[in-house]
Amino acid sequence: MLMSTSAIGGTALDTFPKRLLERAQQHPDKIAIREKAFGIWQEWSWRQMLEEVRALACGLAALGMHRGDKVAIVGDNRPQLYWTMIAVQCIGGVPVPLYQDAVANEIQFVLDHAETRYAVVEDQEQVDKLLSVWDHCPRLEQLIYQDSRGLREYGEPFLHAFAAIQTQGRSYDAEHPDFFRQQAAMGRGGDLAVILYTSGTTGSPKGVMLSYDNIMITSCHAIAREGLRDDEEIVSYLPMAWVGDHLFSYGMFYCAGFTVNCPESGATVMHDVHEIGPTYFFAPPRIWENILTTVLIRIEDASWIKRKIFHYFMNVAQRVGSRKLAKEPINAWERLLYGIGDLLVYGPLKDNLGFGRIRLAYTAGEAIGPEIFTFYRSLGINIKQLYGMTEASVFVCVQPDGEVKPDTVGTAMPEVELKISDSGEVLYRSPGVFMGYYKNPEATAATMEDGWVHSGDAGYLDENAHLKIIDRARDVSRLADEHETLFAPRYLENKLKFSQFIKEAVVHGADRPYIGVFINIDLEAVGNWSDRRGLTYTSYGDLAARPEVYDLIQGEIERVNASLAEEPQMAGAQIQRFLILHKELDPDDGELTRTRKVRRGVIAEKYGDLITALYSDGDHVAIEAQVMFEDGRSGTIRADLQLRDITPTAALAAAR
């Protein structure tokens, strides 16, 4: 392995175990991690955390773990699971976090491919999942669970309680007092630190190997550029298997030394955010959208005077807020109005959401709707777009403070080089670039050339070196019309998804005469909309099939068409036909990735009849779909879907 050539690589603290020891020595009583349990925030200082990690690491060693062994980790964001990650690294092992909502056969693939010897999981649900595939994973030897609830009657000899392993670890530690520190000091920056499996919109997951240098150098650059300090508070609620969480709650946590807060449960995240008041917050666009949708629904239900005040001051904020955040000049009257608005609306709203103390917020993973983005910025929340991927240890580009443009993802991070290939694809090279895909040299060779990584995204650099992403390179396609119009499906889908009523959209049109689209409605927003109109419905499928809802969605699509018509290169690619799906697209059915990205191949295969119907004359189509329930059983949903045409009138207006 090459030595790091980065400006800040090669320090003495080149692995997380070394950082942990240093933190526990320098700041023993500073709070490292909190978890809400039994209604109270439980805290662990760096010293206490080191003790927990040490006990676990020694326990794993007592169980027979060797350097180089892989350990699967499955569960929600729990301190114990974060400790497992560092404990494994302390004794030279490699943690492999998995998505906690993955179904059994997805888990099986990763366990098998990563050759994990041990698995540390959260609770009975995960234990059951692993036991169901246990016989197909011959390399898996021991299973450790954190929460013993419901597991008393389980007699498997390879099943251990987390606390019991720690108890064994303490006696092992007493017998081998030098073991832990020796092991923890052994790792080097170039060593493999973690394997993160990317869900991938096509094919099987690939194991991205990241070294300590990859993660730590990238983290340190981000901390320096964004001015993060050790008094930040973050809430860790995104899947541990996702590279984003690994960087924010792990890499940057050890490098900056701030405090990580684990929510009580998946259902209480927003409440816990409210209690913690994070200073640094990360969320993918769908979460920012959900929060905004919830706010708008609550405002719609409020009294008329509150509604008036809210809308008036949100208008003020839209005019003034973003400029204020960018430190552009604003006149005295605007400053006064914004001040009143802050007192009456923005402040209470931010406080209510738990965003009162935010100094830095990111959105990434997908494009965010300009309205949504502007909404938060005008409230004075410094939300910025980040462009990154697993293969780059997240950070490629970030919008710099004072240069936030809604349509770009910002400029390259320190030590990141960018170039655009002849075919328009974005390539990058950085100290964060991964070591390769685990046991998949072909895929590594196809992605990486001389250290340059193919992002798979089509984009360009604007005059200020800001990167603008158009779409996935392979998804950009042409219509089979007389102009062979070029269109970018993701670009259209994002525009559609910016509507609060549309949760998901799948655009079709490659080698077809026009663009057709599948729509997933947002149950909460459309449900509330129909409640206020006195429309009754029994289920998602029923609501989705209502003609009134079709009218609503048609209006939203027409708005998107109108905005497309204003862009000369997009005006030809307007949506001409749509249908509303009878069920939500779901990762459990393989239709979305675990990070909620559309898998076009699966959808084309599964809903072939619907696509055919989009390009035929009928105005309805019958469908039967297999669905997977949460317990792994499958069932069938039958429905009769309507199709509706939309006349792209706006295109004519643009042509004039």
Binding site: F38, G39, I40, R149, G150, R152, E264, S265, E630
Partner: protein, 263 residues
């Protein structure tokens, strides 16, 4: 008779007769409940199932028969709160919660029996009352964690869907730390998923806390899955008592359910 694990009964209902005027609700019913078992009481409508639960928790006083709980015979004059203090908690067929109060406060009411300080010192919220509140709150939080209802801790129960209200009611009963838990149709009106959750909770209550459970249930699938023993009532009489499998194939039980004409 001795229980499955050789234990003595935690509760003995002996030859109980209960009538309201001319209506005989229970006729010579005897049931033993053993420590750590899940006992299901089934039977057609009006068979006397709820009456039996009401007798067990002291809500009704039978005209005849005796009730022995924890090897102590219950005095005739005992009131429901005294029975509750002995360690019997229950939930109701129709959810009986304080609709305007939060989940937390509702479950907190289950702790009343364990509260020692006076009304006045609680009102002042000072000294011993404050320390006691902390202890009570910890117990309640354990129940909330156990039933996985953290996200509705502060929500008024009137705004919760029915399935969750049932769970809160179960939480209130659990907060009383009972020896014996009586559940009157805990899954009525629930969908399949909610029933599965509730079944799991009942099994876990027994396994984790060692609480003995007596439940009335109509869903035969649930009864067969989770109960160790089934008692069948029909027109106020006990017509069967045994493991689920035996009861299911009992001719008298089948007749009672199929509605064969009664002499």
């Amino acid at each position: 008779m001795v229980g499955m694990n050789g234990s003595q009964p935690i509760l003995q209902v002996e030859d109980v007769e209960l009538s309201f005027g001319a209506v005989q609700a229970l006729i010579g019913v005897s049931v033993d409940v053993y420590r750590g078992e899940i006992l299901a009481i089934i039977g057609p409508n009006g068979a006397g199932k709820t009456s039996l639960l009401n007798v067990i928790n002291g809500f009704y006083r039978p005209q005849h028969g005796r009730i022995v709980f924890l090897e102590k015979e219950r005095p005739k004059h005992f009131r429901p709160y005294q029975v509750a203090r002995q360690g019997i908690a229950r939930t109701f067929q129709n959810v009986a919660l304080f609709k305007g109060m939060s989940t937390l406060d509702n479950i907190m009411t289950g702790r009343t029996l364990h509260t020692r300080t006076s009304f006045l010192s609680q009102a002042l919220y000072w000294g011993r009352a404050l320390r006691e509140e902390e202890v009570q709150r910890r117990r309640v939080e354990e129940v909330i964690d156990f039933l996985e209802i953290e996200s509705i801790r502060k929500t008024p129960v009137g705004r919760l869907p029915y399935g969750l209200q049932k769970r809160v009611e179960l939480g209130r009963a659990l907060a009383a730390e009972p020896e014996l838990l009586l559940l009157d149709e805990p899954m009525a009106g629930m969908n399949v998923e909610e029933k599965e959750d509730m079944s799991r909770f009942i099994l876990d209550i027994r396994d984790e806390f060692g609480v003995t459970c007596v439940l009335i249930e109509h869903d035969m699938g649930v009864v067969m899955d989770i109960s160790d023993r089934v008692v069948v009532l029909d027109y106020g009489r006990k017509i069967a008592d045994g493991p689920p499998h035996d009861v299911r194939t009992n001719r008298e039980v089948i007749e009672a359910y199929l509605g064969v004409a009664h002499e």
